[in-house]
Amino acid sequence: MSAGAAALTLYDKIVAAHTVRRIDEAHVLLYIDRHILNEYTSPQAFSGLATAGRRVRRPAANFGVVDHVNPTLPARTAYIADSQAARQVEYFGENCRAEGIEMFGLLDARQGIEHVVVPEQGIALPGMVIACGDSHTTTYGALGALGFGIGTSDVEHVLATQCIVYRPLRNMRIRIDGELAPGVSAKDLIMAIIRRIGVAGATGYAVEFAGEAVQRLDVAGRMTLCNMIVEAGARGAVMAPDEAVAAFLQGRPHAPRGANWLAAQADWQGLRSDDDAWFEQDLQLDAADVAPLVTWGTSPDQSVPITAMAPDPREEPNPERRRAMEQALAYMGIAAGAPMQSLRIDRAFIGSCTNGRLEDLRAAAQVLAGRKVAPHVRAMIVPGSSQVRRDAEREGLHQIFTDAGFEWRQSGCSMCLAMNDDVLGPGERCASSTNRNFEGRQGRGGRTHLMSPAMVAAAAVAGYLADVRSVGGA
């Protein structure tokens, strides 16, 4: 065998290190180090387990987080008005307790969005495989862990076996060199990537992010990248862990300590793709070419720079794409060719597992300091976790937000998917730091424009979609 044939990508190494056995040419039985559960994709898995008379194989490897259905009212109580949501949370608690699974419930100081909480608690570590009944589990790639989303049947499978029947993905690398311009963030980078490769551009692939612009991002920014690559279809993301990752993890509640910490750090040195590893797709991007982006349509790849105009379907030669564009523009209530900055917003939302971390709130606060939200805009900040909320308050960010006219809420998924009572009304237009602008995602008939937290802040102040670079502060 030549040296080249033996060269492995980081993704290949992690998969190899977790292969319990080969099932056939295409599949392996893959060991899952940690399994994260939430209240809305787990109930049927627990019921299925009980019906079959099975138990959770490795309770300590599982963590439960309440995040999707809970209210985010400024005063947190255990009360949930929606009786179905209340029952879900209650059932989740019953199951976690019965199986001995550690749970971060609604009143727990560690509660928050699962993909914010898991890194925050030091649960996700380099080299791990982590599964969760939620598509944005790719987030953990930023820490050098392979995370991926699974459906409820596979949640049941992991609970019972701590393994999954896995078909390894193909390798794609996205190298981002150069330097981000002022006002441009990790969110703009990932939106630029999705815009370039399309919403199915990474389907069937695990994506490794590399390049100096990626290394220069803080861990929070890297999480934004890995989190949202799922919107290009990727079922996994990885990044070689570096000193920034070690510094991020050190001292966190579930991070290794003492001799284990030293051994782990030595081991993590090997978590990188071999120099001559082969990637079936190898993309390059110059960070300097990226401008602040906003979506105009109902799919995360339908975006343009904020200074541009919504596209004109008449200029699209492909009839199917033309129809899709017309449909999206009609749903969004946007005239063909309208300048993006002419769109008046009704709502502004900062939060989600993509952009609900302390760093995101700081970026928004920089724009909002000493400014006011436009009178016709209802604006909300929902911190990614209760810890983020406390940290922000310690820095006084909440004061800036409330002075500006933002609602300062408790943590949860909130209007990212609007399963609780934070919902857009029909036709309402929202500047949102979330990850999906699908039809009805934030409420039936609601119109979502995806952008960075700083851009949401700028839009909230202007009352229109706005360029953070001209509003200033960022």
Binding site: V20, R57, S135, G149, D267, R441
Partner: protein, 208 residues
């Protein structure tokens, strides 16, 4: 799990690209703790207007397509959220197979887990079926998993390939967990050596 061998029935065309699982099963139907009663939620905003009345223009509301067993769909069907409720609902609505050129990857796995067959064809083959099925009189297909082919009303056939393991699961209605549990001893042995090599990865209960 439902066994799939050969199924005949009506196929409804849904050519729109990137129909995501939020559209297939909106959030208000995700609040249950069972898999039941999800048929009404499928494509809810496309099937029903704001007052809950059926939208007559939506294909599954048209008399000829009400009993559809198959969907012929646009690219990247089922992208987005991992919610398996989308697949449960489609099954409860009577859908047995979905034919498209590509699928969201978690959605595709969820289909296999529930006896719903996702069939990947080449874009021009899907296009041919979309055109055919748009005419209600020609929308009758037979999908045969043993022979791995879709049979058209004129008797012509389109072959498809499928992951061999998933095919076996569907043909036999196999319990995936039971299959994996055959290897329980190997999983034990794996854990043992995995944690010996990487002691910091061994999970600990709170307080341990």
């Amino acid at each position: 799990m439902a066994v799939f061998t050969s199924v005949s029935g009506v196929a409804a065309p849904l050519p729109q690209a990137n129909l995501d699982t939020d559209v297939i099963m909106p959030k208000q139907f995700l609040k249950g703790i069972t898999r039941d009663d999800l048929a009404r939620g499928v494509f809810f905003d496309l099937r029903f207007d704001a007052h809950g009345a059926e939208r007559t223009e939506f294909v599954l509301n048209q008399p000829a397509y009400r009993q559809s067993r198959f969907l012929v769909v646009g690219p990247n069907f089922g992208c987005g959220s991992s919610r398996e409720h989308a697949v449960w609902g489609l099954s409860q609505l009577g859908i047995r197979a979905i034919i498209g050129s590509s699928f969201g990857s978690i959605f595709q796995d969820n289909c296999y887990r529930n006896g719903l067959l996702p069939i990947c064809l080449l874009p021009h083959e899907v296009q041919r079926l979309l055109v055919l099925c748009a005419d209600a009189d020609c929308a009758q297909l037979r999908v045969d998993l043993l022979e791995q082919m879709v049979e058209l009303p004129d008797g012509s056939r389109i072959a498809f390939s499928i992951d061999a393991l998933r095919r076996e699961d569907l043909l036999n209605g196999r319990d995936a967990i039971a299959s994996t549990l055959q290897f329980a001893a190997e999983i034990d042995a794996f854990e043992h050596s995995h944690w010996r090599q990487h002691p910091w990865l061994a999970p600990k209960l709170a307080g341990e």
